[in-house]
Amino acid sequence: MARSLWATRAASYLRINVPCRGFATVLKDLKYADSHEWVRVEGESATVGITDHAQDHLGEVVYVELPEEGSKVEQGASFGAVESVKATSDVNSPVSGKVVEVNKKLSDSPGLVNSSPYEDGWIIKVELEDDSDLPCLMDPERYTKFCEKEDASR
């Protein structure tokens, strides 16, 4: 257990995706919402997806409902949904702005959300309204503790 914990933290630090179970991957350079979405901010653009913790708890994703390119998203509001095990789960935006690109690969390969939640499984790219939303989001350490606390309340 201690060795896998070290390996996961090292992987997190080095931004490597590790297919580990029992401890979900959390990447160092991302920000996180308490509804388990991540955002990678690069200047005025942001890429959004769902976390490894989220995809693990969802099960195999069979469908992703994507928003229209050009539509607006608002922090904390739903912009789409994923379906797994006969359950549709809303996906909320961690930031506000305009959708400039959606990951069309998810229409044919929704499972990318499970196999590569932080890379190939990205969901939307957003042109940020401003960066005032970002302080509300969690950093990787806080998000990791948040997940641990949530899982412990089972």
């Binding site: 949904a81 006969k86 549709t88 309340s153």
Partner: protein, 235 residues
């Protein structure tokens, strides 16, 4: 260390599908804003066909006009899952609960809904099992006895499960149930034997609810008779 879990059970009788949908929307919103605690609706519907978010209309084998002619409605919903039928003698449970409060994700939630129906079936000596990957639901052999279709919005659940006590199974011939062709639909009555008398529907509803509260670990359970409730939640 978690404290006692509370839930309020609404016993509702027969409810029109759209009325139940509007009520769930209101309760989901109230649960999100902490105006209410976890709530479970126990009811049945008049003959109703429904589709999920993916709108798999190809799995409805007759036209909407033909469905109307047989006295049924068709509704498009935001839940997961494929085409299904609801009707008299089928128990419906719609849990409006906060998954975040119990640290549970969609997969575990659905597994627990499956376990709820499996447990109920076992009370009658019927050995049911959860579906394999891609066949979520509850099966007796290759025959489907219980269906699941759920919506999760900001961690709050709506829609839920449907368990066949003794509905008119002919209705299922007009759809590809759950999008899985060549699989039969069954009922508790069929599985215990048509000659065997089951207790009243009310008893079976209550038993299913008890299986649910046990599996989900609710210790503080309040029952409310809501047979005269309208879609805005008022009596």
């Amino acid at each position: 260390m978690r404290g006692p879990r509370s839930i309020e059970i609404w016993k509702m009788g027969a409810v029109n599908y759209l009325e139940a949908l509007k009520l769930q929307e209101k309760l989901t919103s109230d649960r999100k804003t902490h105006k209410i605690k976890d709530t479970l609706l126990s009811l049945q519907h008049p003959p109703t066909f429904t589709l999920g978010k993916r709108r798999t209309v190809h799995n409805v084998l007759v036209s909407e006009a033909e469905l109307k002619a047989m006295g049924a409605e068709l509704h498009y919903t935001e839940r997961g899952g494929d085409a299904t039928f609801h009707g008299p003698r089928q128990v419906i449970l719609y849990p409006i609960i906060s998954l975040r409060d119990i640290g549970t994700g969609a997969r575990k939630y659905v597994e627990n809904l499956e376990s709820t129906m499996i447990e109920l079936a076992s009370l009658y000596g019927v050995k049911a099992r959860a579906g394999e990957t891609g066949e979520t639901g509850v099966w007796v052999g290759q025959r489907k006895i219980g269906a699941i279709g759920v919506r999760i919005s900001s961690g709050i659940t709506s829609h839920g499960l449907a368990f066949n006590i003794d509905p008119d199974l002919n209705y299922f011939k007009h759809i590809v149930p759950c999008g899985i062709p060549d699989k039969e639909v069954t009922s508790l009555q069929k599985e215990v034997g048509l000659g065997q008398k089951l207790p009243s529907e009310q008893v079976i509803h209550e038993q299913l609810v008890s299986c649910f509260t046990k599996i989900f670990g609710y210790t503080d359970v309040t029952w409310r008779d809501k047979t005269s409730v309208s879609s805005d939640g008022n009596e």
